[in-house]
Amino acid sequence: MDDYIIITNNPMVVEEFGTEKEIEFYDVDYENILVKVRDKIYKGHELLSHPLSGSVKPGETPYKSIMVSKRVGSLEEKYVKLIESSIQTVGKFSFKPTINDQKTLKDLQVVDRTLLNSAIASADA
């Protein structure tokens, strides 16, 4: 089994990796996925992929998948700094459109999954 956990709100990630990867799915918004990751980091998990990956800006995509280590060690300041500043950045994107268009939602899921794939490729290499 891999030594990482995927924290996500993207249903497409669950569909694709549900059985072969350890996934924690939360039905929450982008910002709250980052909060879930922050909780993990404070417990001593390492942050493995960048919380702001992708250039679809926070507030413009509802989906986010982030990778943390399964291993729990001591709290690392650099990860705390990165996740806290990422949460702050998300807060800056004040306008949060409601996207109801299924085609666009699917596109956004694909992009998030693609970014995650890129991290998985590095992690599994």
Partner: protein, 426 residues
Amino acid sequence: MKLEMGHIFIKDIVFSDTSKIEDGVLYVSKAELEKIVLSDEKLKEVSFDVAKPGESVRITPVKDVIEPRVKVEGEGGIFPGVIAKVGTVGSGKTYALKGMAVVTAGKIVGFQEGIIDMTGPGAEYTPFSKLNNLVMVCEPIEDIKPHQYEKAVRLAGFRVATYLGELSKSLTPDETKVYETQTIMEGKEKYPDLPRVAYVQMLQSQGLLHDTYVYGVDAKQTLSTIMNPTEVMDGAIVSGNCVSACDKNTTYHHLNNPVIHDMLEEHGKTLNFVCQILTNENVYLADKERSSDWTAKMCEMLDLDGVIVSQEGFGNPDTDLIMNCKKIEAKGVKTVIITDEYAGRDGKSQSLADADAAADAVVTGGNANQVIILPKLDKVIGTLDYVTKIAGASDETLREDGSLEVELQVITGATNETGFNKLSAR
């Protein structure tokens, strides 16, 4: 390495039965171009249009902008490893069609491409409003995946640009510029008293739809490396990404990188331009550490005094930018970083997602959150269907009078981080 760049000025583009360049006019045969584009079975249809400076035209969603070039003398061909065979470029003689571009448009991932306005307030923010643009909108076959569509459109754009570049091969350029650089030791001997400076270029490499290619290799899978600065002028780096429009480097930006041009201008006068260093912007944090370690190590091994670092994109790459800056400075090498800002609509928020005290020399390309109203224009090339979905737009974007209320993010090249724009701050 010495490269002679011949510029052929194109003052107009006209559709015609045969393709040729005559008296500064580019005549293009749609039928010939169509054959070139549709040679890829993933594309079923293409339409061509011309957008000229000052016309009431909006091009959207823009994917890439490409300047046609042709290799006249010397090793290799334009877009090595992509269109031409792999072979080191950057020496000999190359011609470029100036004053025009090939613009690829199409709803690849719909929501993430940009706008080029040829007139009005929006035109002031994009350098491409000043060019005669040959726009190609490609339609894919059914059930194609977004990344396959992106690749098909990307390559079709390069094929068309290469074809147009070839038309100039036997012409006499209107203007010639010569760029010459030395090897490491030659440079040291020739300019013993000048500061040794390199250009660190960070390339977007976050995964499919977010990639950049160097000699045909996906930059995501590369270790930081060095190049001669003239190599990019022959298309050694091409864009393959659909990231937000304002701060992505199109292929046109890579071919005409202003950091490289300005540094070559100063080479031998105020500085010794040692080389270009390429590094990536991956999503996996260990990759970021490794790439920035290598970049800093190379700066040290090259005995540099200073570097200019340019970023591509926002958020995730802010971390690479700061890692590069911190680690290079720690080696005793001075840095100047070029970025853009997402400082909120009022400009009062923290500009970058990361920061460090070592980043004390920063050039900005402007605030991408700045709001702008784009008036309704007479003609749209592409489609407005997705205009509310592109980064920097919202459901309220399309106003009753047909104008668009958007953030600068939507405009192709508006806050470019190689400085290929007009915005900055003092």
